[in-house]
Each structure stands twice: as C-alpha cells, then as structure tokens.
Symmetry: C2
Subunit: 207 residues, 2 copies
C-alpha cells in the first residue's frame, strides 16, 4: 500500500499504540484486542482497527492481536527498530532534563551530541550518556559529518529559528522543538512542537 495515502493523524496515533503495547509487554501480556487498547487509550476500538488496517492484517478475528508481533510491526513502520542519532541544542534546565531522560534509547533515539553557547557548559558532560557539550559554532559540521537527521531544540525562543536554520542546512529533516515559537522550515522538514502553555491553554477554554 502506498505510504502517501495514510493520513498524518493516523501516523500520529501509531506511537501512542506502540507505547501502550510496550506497557502490555512489560506486564507480561501476550494477546490484546482493539477493545482493550481502546479502553486504555480513550480511543474507539473501531478507530484502532481502521488505523492498523492501513498497514495490513495484524489481528485474527476473535483472537485479537499478538502483542509482540504488533509491537515489532509498528516499530518497523515507524522506523524505530533502529537507533536514530539525535542532536540536542540547548543545555539549560530543559536541555538537561531532556539529556537526563532515560526513555529515548528504548524507543529508537539516542542523543549523541549536545550544543550550547554557554562557556560554563561547553566541554562538560551532560545527560545519561555523559555527552560533552559543544559550542553551537560546531553544530553544522557535527550534523554533516555524522549524517544526523533528527534534532531537538531546547533554546530560548529568540534563538530557535537560527538554530533550526543551521540544523536544516546541515541535513536535519525532523525537529522536535521545545522553544515557544513556530519555526519556518522548508517543506521537506518535519517539525513537532512541545509547548506546555499551548497544552494548558487548550484546556482552560473548557473550564
């Protein structure tokens, strides 16, 4: 089936399914159903079956999904059955929390380089893998020489666009942006935003 016809909103739910399957595996479970997954995720079972049907037949009528098999298939579809090198720019409190986060490696990502312009941070190790912080002047060369395509921006808003431009010019094609600003990037580059204020304001409307 051609990839292009699958809506992005479906792709966006696959990591959530993958995460739920990971918890089921950790619980020692082997078989699940679209009903159980739906109950856990607050998504209808019909939606889950429809989403997965874009990629083939994963469940057998009446017996449900083999959790390990579906987990492996989703990892392959999302291309996280390998480890992606990730560059992190910004070694402040937020960057430190990201570098210290233990949940990336098991999910397909490893932060292999960290950049900041603070002389107090440059040259010192950071995060669970003790990556040495480098000056942002070295960012482009690092991305190019290592063929890195995934970047995380955890800088203040006013620096984020310049960092994004360096990343993109050097070959990054996917950016996770924690800076509270919408980035301007070429069409071939994907950006996902993490802004707690947007998440909070989206809810207060309903209060």
């Amino acid at each position: 089936m051609a990839k292009k016809i699958i809506p992005d909103i479906v792709i966006g739910r696959l990591p959530v399914y993958l995460r739920a399957l990971g918890f089921l595996i950790a619980e020692g479970r082997q078989i699940t159903s679209s009903q159980e997954l739906g109950d856990r995720l607050g998504i209808s079972s019909a939606q889950i079956r429809k989403d997965l049907s874009h990629f083939g037949e994963f469940g057998k009528q009446g017996t449900g999904y083999d959790i390990g098999f579906l987990y492996d298939q989703l990892r392959t579809i999302l291309k996280v059955n390998k480890l992606w090198d990730v560059v992190l720019v910004g070694a402040g409190n937020l960057g430190k929390a990201i570098a210290d986060y233990g949940g990336f490696r098991g999910k397909g990502f490893v932060i292999t380089a960290i950049f900041d312009n603070d002389p107090e941070k440059i040259g010192k190790p950071m995060g669970i893998d003790d990556v040495i912080v480098q000056p942002i002047a070295d960012l482009a060369e690092s991305i190019k020489s290592n063929g890195v395509t995934v970047g995380i921006i955890a800088t203040p808003a006013q620096e984020a666009q310049a960092v994004a431009r360096i990343m993109v010019d050097a070959g990054v094609k996917a950016i996770l942006n924690y800076a509270p600003i919408t980035l301007t990037v070429p069409n071939h580059v994907r950006v996902q935003y993490i802004d707690p204020v947007v998440g909070l304001q989206r809810m207060t409307y309903y209060l």
Copy 2:
C-alpha cells in the same frame, strides 16, 4: 454562538495564534493579516479566518486584524486573561525544568504548589517562585482548600495514574501529563500529553 459546536481542533489552534500575536506585540506591531499569520505559522490564511470566524468578526476587510484587540479577545476566549493556579507533581529533573520555566505566568498560569515523595526535596524551595515542595500525601487537601483545577504531572510513568486519580478526586479538571503513559480519567476531565518520544516517532515514519 454556542461553544459546543466549535471543534476541539480549532480550539487547539487558538493558543498557537495567541503565541504568534504575542510575538508581533513584542515586535511593536499593531496590525496583521490572516496571510501574515498564516505564513508565520504554516497554516493557510483561509483556515485562520475560518477558525476565528467561530468567535465573531475580528478583522475588517482590507485592513486586517488589530493585534492588541485580537490578542485580548483570544485571551478572553481561552480564559487566560486571569492567572490559573497550577499544582505540579514531580520534582525531579523534569519537574525542576517546568518549575524554572519563566513562560507560564505571562500566559495565564502560575505554579502555586509542588509535590514529590523524595525526602531530599520535600521542604525545599523550587522554581522561579521558590515554591516549597510538599509530600504527595498533602496533594488532595491542597487542591481542595485552594480550589485548584489545573495540574501538571511530571512523575515516572508508574506513578502517574495514581497521582491523576488523587488530582481528579480532589477537583482538578485539566491535566498536563508529561509521564509517558495514557491516563484513565472521567469524561469531564481534559488531559493533554507531552511525550517527546511520541513527537519523534511521528516524524521518523517520514524519514
């Protein structure tokens, strides 16, 4: 116009518009257009006009939007023209980064209470407002006595559901969840998720 007919996806874009308007104000600008906003945000101008039309007439044909007026209107619509008290549970690296973040107060939120179970953290000040960390045993009483309705969860995954239950039982109606797990909450409670792995995996599909 009845609120219920406005799709949640439209509500979800309003904080992004508000953020962009805030940057325009900081730049000293007074008038903008749906075209300019769209260019900055990567959203079509037609979409922006349609989204805003749910709430009334904000722009004049040919003269664009008064930035300050639209900013104030969106703040009122999203109910962030007031300060919401927020409880934060989890005072680890991530909780510290959240408590240190200076961007909440100007956007309608202030973290007024922080909770953790680590004896090393309890009783000590944390974050830009030097909020004293309290034990999670005191969470429910704090929420109830202060009438808090917004909570942030920055605990490990295995503790998040229990914390969410305490929050909801005590009166919280909106939860920003950083723990990498889908929470089970009653229908009247809103949850927004912040999981960097989900954001990253959603992009690697396309690489």
